[in-house]
Amino acid sequence: MKASHMTQTPKITAHNLNFYYGKVKALDSISIDFNLNQVTALIGPSGCGKSTFLRCLNRMNDLITGIRVEGEIKIDDQDIYAPAVDVVNLRRRIGMVFQKPNPFPKTIFENVAYGLKVNGVTDKNLIAERVEKSIRQAALWEEVKERLHDSALGLSGGQQQRLCIARALAVEPEVLLMDEPCSALDPIATQKIEELIHTLKETYTIIIVTHNMQQAARTSDVTAFFYMGKLIEAGETDTIFTKPAKRRTEEYITGRFG
């Protein structure tokens, strides 16, 4: 059941966002809302700015020198680029899953417990409880419960990516950003992650960058199409894939370029 995204309360609002790498303008006045408990897919050809935009939402781009951000991004009406904002706290509220699985060279348990520990949780029982809950949420528990204290690097690629999702969930974020989470995975692992996204949206607001049209169509409620640093159009996924308003969108979705 897909509620119209226009009528819901937005969790995140971007307004006239410009982003520069040095002198290069990578994002050009992006304005978009992301609603609570919905999955939004960001699609577009390589270099269109969708990943850059995603990384603006948890200020991951701050790590790059020579960047500049104009405009505003609000989460629950709080401007995340305001000087008073604590970036560490912001990133705890907005979890992120990366393109390639990147588990720490630690045990499976330690990977998931890491976020809790750096956020000051010391109660061992609570940590164990949350680790199990997160791994279950990430649909990985049955596969790893016997070897929680083995290295995470021994898992398969698909398992590693689900572990990374569990790791992100453990700190109980409000929003989950996923940057092409299946691009390095085989179809079976991809299917598992997609099913997972479907369950997770009951609890989280999810924004996913994807190169895969079918994946966007399958997993998302809302789709936003980026092209050359601009947001060409955003709307309900059904509408975008059947009756897009812009010619560019239609050309991209039907595979005529990109």
């Binding site: 992120m96 990366f98 699985p101 720490f104 690097l153 690629g157």
Partner: protein, 298 residues
């Protein structure tokens, strides 16, 4: 015809490289053999235990005493104290350069640190003699500034470039994706360095430390110049000591050819060889044990 000539040339090249490789390896092997051949005869006069744990090194007295325990203690303690200085300084400099400094600063400072490694040890020894020794003498009210502490400082400055540059390489090659994963979970950059970057670079850092220390324990010129040269077990860090390499260098010229003293000095060489050999084995073991193959593989 042409084909078989090419084949012949290929074979010739193979043999040529084989010859070059075996030459350098067999020369090394012969040096090692020579070391043992010239060192082992002393154990006919002195037992291994008496040699290693003997407290008196009076090779020219009558009767002569060949106990190298004070020399071993001299070497070990100088190396340990220099490690206490060089490891924190070297590793922390590496952390600063790779994780905190701007890339512009890093590009200036790193070559400078590497340049320090090319200072000839005799220059460092000279600096220790004319600057550090008088300073220690004046400020700590001690008999001589040429002592264990002075030697440890000088050796530390010799190992810091090694420790720093190899550690820095190890830290720098930790994949950015791991650091990003940590930051994205709400870790501060300090927590990320301590809990993710450092552990992931541990193999490289341990190798760096061992290589730095093995440079310190085998170093001759500096300890010959500034350690003070007294063959006794030191009571404080301001006592003069006589580490193993310094003894060989200082006494070899006076030792009668194939006399007991001569054999004893070669036996010291064997002990030193075993020390550095162990350091290298440990370095090798550590770098394999904590090997982290960068990005998670699929």
């Amino acid at each position: 015809m042409i084909h078989s000539f090419t084949k012949f040339k290929e074979k010739l090249m193979n043999y040529f490289f084989l010859l070059v490789a075996t030459t350098s390896i067999s020369i090394l092997a012969m040096i090692t053999l020579f070391l043992f051949k010239e060192g082992l005869p002393i154990f006919e006069k002195v037992g291994i235990k008496a040699f290693i744990f003997g407290n008196y090194w009076y090779p020219t007295a009558d009767p002569a005493h060949f106990g190298i325990f004070p020399l071993i203690i001299g070497s070990v303690s100088v190396t340990l104290i220099s490690a206490l200085i060089s490891i924190p300084l070297g590793v922390m400099t590496a952390i600063y350069l790779s994780e905190i400094a701007s890339s512009r600063l890093r590009e200036i400072v790193k070559p400078v640190v590497e340049l320090l490694a090319s200072l000839p040890s005799v220059v460092i020894g000279f600096f220790g003699m004319v600057i550090v020794a008088p300073f220690l003498q004046d400020h700590f009210n001690i008999a001589t500034g040429l002592n264990m502490f002075n030697a440890a400082i000088m050796l530390a400055f010799m190992s810091i470039p090694t420790i720093c540059t190899i550690s820095e390489d190890a830290l720098y090659s930790v994949p950015a994706s791991l650091k990003e994963a940590s930051l994205a979970l709400g870790a501060t950059s300090f927590e990320t360095i301590v809990k993710v970057t450092l552990p992931a670079a541990l193999s490289g850092i341990s190798t760096a430390i061992i290589l730095g220390l093995s440079r310190a324990i085998g170093e001759t010129m500096v300890v010959l110049m500034v350690a003070g040269g007294a063959a006794m077990v030191p009571g404080s860090i301001f006592d003069p000591v006589r580490p193993l390499p310094g003894s060989i260098a200082a006494e070899m010229a006076e030792a009668p050819y194939r006399g007991d003293h001569y054999y004893a000095l070669f036996a010291i060489g064997i002990v030193l060889f075993i020390f550095t050999f162990c350091f290298n084995i440990i370095a090798d073991y550590l770098s394999n044990k904590y090997r982290q193959t960068g990005d998670a593989t699929l």
